[in-house]
Symmetry: C2
């Protein structure tokens, strides 16, 4: 029951955990749960295989730990959407945040995509629980703005689906985008174009004349 201050031992433990989680995120993201092997994760982390089992027990527990972290990020990105926000600015901030996340954490996004693609066996409870509640809450905010005539009338939950899809595609489908654009990797140029396109569609669709200011 004692809670010792983090000494050298605890710090090294935290470092090992982060080391394993980072390697696991990358391997799981590009190979999926079944495709990833503990050996590949161990190699990426620079540790023997048995170490992973010492820290996390099973492959599924390690995978679940990653999804847990992930959910927190997902749920925290909508903070800017509050009843007292300016509607267009709130949506623009949300889109920019989601796009920045696709750029900074592409592996996390792919991990999430892989999990949902296979039917979300480990995430179903969170999706119908925390995420659903959050979406309902934010949808209510949007409906309020619509009732006040501050934005066009659209089904707010489907608007979220559209924003998620458009922003996450720059992480999940980066391979396709890269090959179609014929660039070695997605950089400033591609993300700027992406943000501009998503902003134009969403602001143009929700606010009509507000779209012009973004090129």
């Amino acid at each position: 029951m004692q809670q010792p201050a983090p000494g050298r031992r605890a710090q090294q433990r935290q470092q090992r955990l982060a080391q394993i989680l980072g390697a696991a995120e990358q391997i799981f993201a590009t190979s999926g749960f079944e495709g990833a092997s503990m050996a590949a994760i161990a190699a990426e982390a620079g540790l023997p295989k048995a170490n992973l089992h010492y820290y996390f027990g099973t492959k599924e527990a390690l995978y679940a730990a990653l999804l847990e972290d992930l959910l927190r990020l997902w749920l925290s990105a909508t903070d800017a959407i509050r009843p007292d926000s300016e509607p267009a600015a709130a949506l623009e901030g949300y889109i920019r945040a989601k796009m920045a996340w696709s750029r900074s954490r592409p592996h996390a996004s792919k991990l999430f995509a892989n999990e949902v693609l296979r039917g979300a066996p480990l995430l179903a409870a969170h999706l119908s629980g925390g995420l659903r509640a959050l979406v309902e809450e934010k949808a209510a905010v949007l409906r309020g703005w619509m009732a006040e005539g501050r934005m066009a009338v659209v089904e707010p939950r489907h608007l979220f689906f559209a924003i998620w899809a458009m922003t996450q595609t720059y992480a999940d489908f980066d391979t396709q985008i890269r090959l179609v654009l014929d660039v070695p990797a997605l950089g400033d140029r591609e993300f700027d174009d992406g943000v501009a396109t998503v902003l134009r569609l969403v602001l143009g669709g929700c606010f009509a004349d507000s779209a012009r200011q973004h090129g």
Copy 2:
């Protein structure tokens, strides 16, 4: 070199092939390449495992055959986008076609998503070849419309990325959408709302005042 008319033998062969391909599409879509087992595909098809190897040789060859079929669908959906088309009608037709495809062939869409997520090892050549050429061709059509002032100026290739993402999410992320909307499965209502939302964003973003006609 002889090309016999399809007799009973050839017909049964075609039926077996279709039987296997259908089962494989479903299993690969929900489990990914590595996650799917030949045993699971055989069980789904109602055939012994060795039959699959007789017809397709290896697991990878079976998977590649599915991707081959898939590409034809992907590349044929843009037919309505031609220089002499009416811009808004052409984009609307394309969106409706893509959305209908997400509804009728969700397994195919998921299969494609799984493949791109893992870096498109078997599809890279097609993406940077046929798909890239097609996108360049259609992007040129859109640029022509923009130059004539018939639609807003957006980066046309990113507009395609956005349309692909928004429409395919109704197949690939159906689990998430289903759980957030709290419905047992996506039906008419959900797809109608989805089409309306995507149309509003794209037409609103590209044609400003044309968005109103779609609710």
